[in-house]
Symmetry: C2
Subunit: 204 residues, 2 copies
DNA sequence: TGTAGAACGGAATTCTTCGTTCCGCTATGA
DNA sequence: TCATAGCGGAACGAAGAATTCCGTTCTACA
């Protein structure tokens, strides 16, 4: 497996990876930054995606798939509810799932397919939360919208190089997990964000 | 108190307030957004500030003053360490203190005066944390850098209108406070962000 | 070995956005 | 009545970004 075909296949991956990294860091980044980060020229990008919007759409759809896969993996692990949930959150942090789509909101047209996937994601996450709550391991007031918001904002922590950044994100996730695990604590102020509120940002 | 002078004085305040809100929401916002949010024209802005950089500098300096005032108020309240600390965090959230300066980092030249204030802020926050830890009310691993990062990121939660946003920010602050108050919990991963790391972002 | 063409790097082009300036207009207060 | 401070917003120019274009390189196959 070598030659131009292999190089191209490798570039496919390189570009997707770079796009994920760059747009997670800065949703408004120029497309040239993606090319640079991937170590390729701009035309390598335009050969694969019709436009920036096209790239963002595919990236967002991909992010939703990754996230859904994680939720389902967590649901499949029915031994220790809390451990499964905590592991799910940590994995989401590492693979950048659960935030990209949201942060990109507004910069591309939402397809019917994505709306459908969004509903699936919501339902699956709901199941995961319910199960964890039933095991008495999660604050009952926590809702799906909370998870979105938390993941999204953990991803916005950007200090130092990639490795340092990841460690810091895990530091604050650990803090949040401690708080989420506290079932006997005082009630939280304000209702959780609703599905409408989160989706509202797509249309704005 | 009416007439042109009064109108101008009112605009002074309107513009400062709008600038704070707009740049807290988006540090890269155009200056026209500030004018619009304040309900004034662009020239009302340029009559008061020489340039965008000038406005940002004054805003950042003002933000540092507000923050320092809050820390000192918390230190002055020496009855209940934890309540003082929690109240301090909540007030910072409401007045937008502790994050603006950081988020604006890199978009203007840092004056010697600001550096000095930065050191004061660090020292005062350190005292507040130490005191709260000594009372056994705060995780010992929490450092000044953590507070900066937490406040900064709580401010980036932007959903719904201003009032709704504020409630949600308080919801997640409450969660974080529960975690910070947990003195017996497992150790956090990764060291806290250092002063250098945070300041590093000024130099770009 | 010669050659068609896929894949690419990056300069050139075009479009957008933003900071700043400029030009009347209005209301105040002498 | 008039000079003018204060203002709204269009106009201008620079910076930056998306997209296109062209010359080059490398592969595969004759």
């Amino acid at each position: 497996m070598s030659g131009r075909k292999a190089q191209a296949a490798r570039n496919d991956e390189l570009i997707r990876e770079a796009a994920r990294a760059v747009f997670t860091a800065d949703p408004g980044a120029p497309i040239s930054a993606v090319a640079e980060h991937a170590g390729v020229g701009i035309s390598a990008l335009y050969r694969r995606y019709k436009s920036k919007e096209d790239l963002l759409q595919k990236l967002a759809a991909d992010g939703m798939d990754r996230y859904l896969a994680e939720v389902e993996a967590a649901l499949a692990d029915d031994a220790a509810p809390w451990a499964a949930f905590a592991g799910f959150m940590r994995r989401c942090l590492d693979i950048g799932a659960g935030s990209l789509t949201m942060r990109l909101a507004g910069s591309f047209e939402v397809t019917e397919d994505m709306s459908r996937k969004g509903r699936e994601i919501h339902a699956a996450t709901q199941r995961l939360l319910d199960r964890t709550k039933e095991a008495g391991a999660l604050r009952p007031e926590i809702e799906v919208g909370d998870i979105s918001v938390l993941l999204e904002h953990l991803h916005t922590i950007r200090i130092g190089d990639d490795e340092r950044m990841n460690r810091l994100q895990h530091r604050y996730l650990a803090l949040m997990l401690d708080a989420l695990h506290l079932t006997g604590a005082e009630e939280l102020p304000g209702p959780a964000p609703t599905w409408q509120e989160l989706r509202g940002r797509y249309d704005g």
